[in-house]
């Protein structure tokens, strides 16, 4: 907790809210997010993880890149732990739980209508987006990750 100032936590909470639900953090969300840092588990953080967090807080697209990369390559990194906390807070908050639990916004295919595997097609745009962000994040962040993992980086 002492590692992060209240201002820093508020700023990153706000970033995460914009990233996840396109809304700013309310005071209630920011307070819960900050309190949650008392139980944030320690991780095997490496220099790249600090870079990833700083990089992610630079903007919404950078955050999406960093998060996608971290999920695949550093799933327990500080960034992923903080995003997990942010999701948990948003799904419990009075102001945002409805957004988190919202149903599908596009095509609705009712249960048991016998359409078999066809509805998988409707996931096409979402899956294409996943592939796009995955390829982009690997392309952009792998070189830095490799560089910061090199023997020339002092740890500790």
């Amino acid at each position: 907790m002492a590692e992060w100032s209240a201002t820093e936590l508020l700023a990153e909470c706000d970033r995460f809210c914009h990233y996840l639900i396109d809304r700013p953090a309310t005071p209630e969300i920011a307070k819960t997010y900050r309190a949650g840092h008392q139980s944030l588990p320690p991780g095997d953080d490496v220099p790249f993880d600090s870079f990833l967090l700083r990089f992610a807080l630079g903007g919404k697209r950078r955050l999406r890149l960093a998060d996608t990369y971290a999920r695949l390559v550093r799933p327990r990194s500080l960034l992923r732990r903080k995003i997990t906390l942010a999701i948990a807070v948003l799904e419990c908050s009075r102001a945002t739980h409805g957004l988190m639990n919202a149903g599908p916004t596009s095509v609705k295919i009712g249960a048991g209508k016998g359409r078999g595997w066809l509805p998988l097609v409707t996931l096409g745009p979402s899956l294409a987006s996943v592939v796009w962000w995955t390829v982009l994040s690997l392309t952009v962040l792998s070189p830095t990750h490799l560089f910061l993992s090199g023997p020339w980086i002092r740890r500790g």
Binding site: R64, P75, G103, I109, A111, P119, S137
Partner: protein, 537 residues
């Protein structure tokens, strides 16, 4: 009439006690007994609770976020703060583990305060290693069903789980489970032939109609956080009934350390220490005509080990520790993609399955839970993409998601055991060692393959890369350290669960099971506890 000391208030302890009280005996129950807090707004649905509570995050995540499930865990859900009392450790208990990550409970009501209610009687095949028959247990299964109320439907699972007690009707199916069951009906013969898959309705201790003053499930969607109406039976329901008897005394806040016995093995007293007050506090002694251990396999075995060690100075081991290996297999049912979710719905499993093995004891059992209300963050962070993409994708597939929980059977082996060791300060430490069966990996792979094939036939696909084998200890079906046997062998008990070594000591929890089928054992433990109270007292 006997004066009986019962140690522990879990599922077996309360049913033994209620039977003994009804038969006119007096019972003192010794328990640590961490209590459950009253659930807030008992009429509110899962979503309404987030609107009604002053600080919903404190309830759902804990005041400092202790209930958040961070990446790296093996489960897709954690224990919510409202259930932390169930898994809270007694501070005076030391444990060393090897090959197993056991959970401990000191809650009033034990582990079944946090169960999902599955009630599956052991079949005659399941009982073939037992010095009992199904007929010995049947009347007691029936008695437990009358007491707690169990919903069930006569279906294809009957050949794995006898259906011959009074069940209530099953709960209304959620759309996802209904879809899978309809597909099963269509492909039933094929599924039976290969991969040997049977599907049916779960038998659950959740009321579909009012029963003994408890209301039917009102589908609030709060099951995981603790049923606020007690439509889902928990031991605290039966414990309340015990309090109606004059001959019942409940002593909480006490951890039983050991019992004293004479040269004939007669247990003369049980010693307890107040929980959390350190080792310097003098022990309190309780005496009775008979002592009944119902503290769970780890708890009861520790008491026996410590009693033996204090008396003889030797160290002892109890071989045969068992638990069901569990595998969680998330799946997606494409036909349900895009359907609107209904969060106010019964949250736990509606369906159960069995996979037939060439050997009866090798049958695999499991349960299928369609996703309804749940904590989203463990699911979103498990999806193989960033959180924003995961959330977009999740909204489309939510109603199509489910999880198959696969259980494997276990058998007693010398390598898996409980023991006791002593620290430099003289304090004792429970040692829990577990080594899987040599063919467990093969059985697990076979089970995963066959369930995956069955799901495909049901129109669902196991999500690649997300099937997780839970660490040993996760199923909390610990058993086997003091097995029932007709002849004395180690720390065994006779068929009435009376210790072969200590004539007035009875053990009625999972410790006494000689083998562990791939089923939830709680229904059998409750029935056996009623049986022991009936035949031995």
């Amino acid at each position: 009439m006997a004066r009986i000391l019962v140690v522990g208030s879990g599922a077996s302890g309360v049913h033994f006690t209620l039977t003994a009280l009804r038969r006119g005996h007096t019972v003192t129950m010794l328990d640590v007994g961490y209590p459950r807090a009253d659930p807030p707004a008992p009429e509110a649905t899962f979503e309404a609770l987030k609107e009604e509570l002053e600080d919903p995050a404190a309830y759902f995540l804990g005041p400092d976020g202790q209930g958040v499930v961070y990446p790296g865990g093996t489960s897709f859900f954690g224990h919510p703060p409202s259930k932390h009392y169930v898994f809270k450790h007694a501070p005076d208990l030391r444990v060393r583990t090897d090959g197993m990550s056991p959970l401990f409970t000191f809650a009033r009501g034990g582990f079944a305060e946090a169960w999902t209610g599955g009630c599956y009687p052991f079949s005659a095949d399941d009982l073939k290693d037992y010095p009992l028959t199904y007929d010995d247990l049947h009347p007691h299964y029936a008695e437990v069903a009358r007491r707690i109320g169990i919903g069930g439907t006569r279906d294809d699972l009957e050949s794995f789980m006898p259906f011959d007690v009074d069940y209530q009707g099953s709960l209304p199916l959620d759309p996802h489970s209904r879809y899978l069951l309809e597909r099963y009906a269509k492909h039933r013969d094929h599924l039976h032939r290969s991969p040997g898959f049977w599907l049916g309705r779960s038998r659950v201790a959740t009321l579909s109609e009012e029963h003994n003053g408890r209301p039917a499930c009102s589908e609030l969607g709060r099951c995981l956080w603790g049923c606020p109406t007690q439509s889902l039976w928990a031991p605290s329901v039966t414990l309340r009934e015990c309090h109606e008897f004059e001959g019942f005394r409940y002593v909480s806040g006490e951890l039983v350390r050991y019992f004293e016995y004479d040269s004939d093995g007669i247990v003369s007293s049980v010693s307890t220490v107040p929980v959390g007050e350190g080792s310097g506090v003098p022990a309190t002694s309780y005496s009775a005509d008979a002592v009944v251990l119902a503290a769970g396999t780890l708890g009861s075995s520790r008491i026996v080990l410590e009693s033996l060690a204090r008396r003889t100075g030797g160290t002892y081991r109890m071989p045969g520790l068992m638990d069901n290996r569990q595998v969680h297999m998330p799946f997606l049912t494409p036909a349900l993609i895009g359907a609107e979710p209904n969060l106010a719905s019964y949250q736990f499993h509606h369906l159960a399955f069995a996979v037939r093995s060439s050997r009866a004891v090798g049958d695999v059992h499991g349960q299928i839970t369609a996703l309804k209300s749940a904590s989203l963050h463990p699911i979103l962070t498990a999806m193989p993409t960033g959180a924003r993409s995961a959330l977009d994708l999740f909204r489309r597939v939510r109603t199509a998601l489910g999880i198959a929980n696969i259980n494997l059977h276990d058998s007693r082996r010398v390598e898996s055991h409980l023991g006791l060791e002593y620290d430099a300060d003289g304090g004792s430490r429970l040692v829990v060692c577990y080594k899987p069966d040599h063919d467990e990996l093969h059985r697990r792979r076979m089970a995963i393959r066959r369930v995956r094939r069955a799901l495909l036939r049901l129109g669902a696909v196991a999500v690649p890369g997300l099937t997780r084998t839970l660490p040993m200890g996760a199923s909390v079906h610990y058993s086997g350290t003091m097995p029932m046997s007709t002849a004395p062998a180690g720390m065994s008990v006779d068929p009435s669960c009376r210790s072969h070594t200590f004539p007035n000591l009875f053990v009625i929890d999972g410790s006494v099971l000689p083998s562990l089928p791939a089923k939830n054992l709680t229904f059998t433990l409750m029935a056996n506890a009623v049986r022991v109270a009936t035949v031995a007292f």
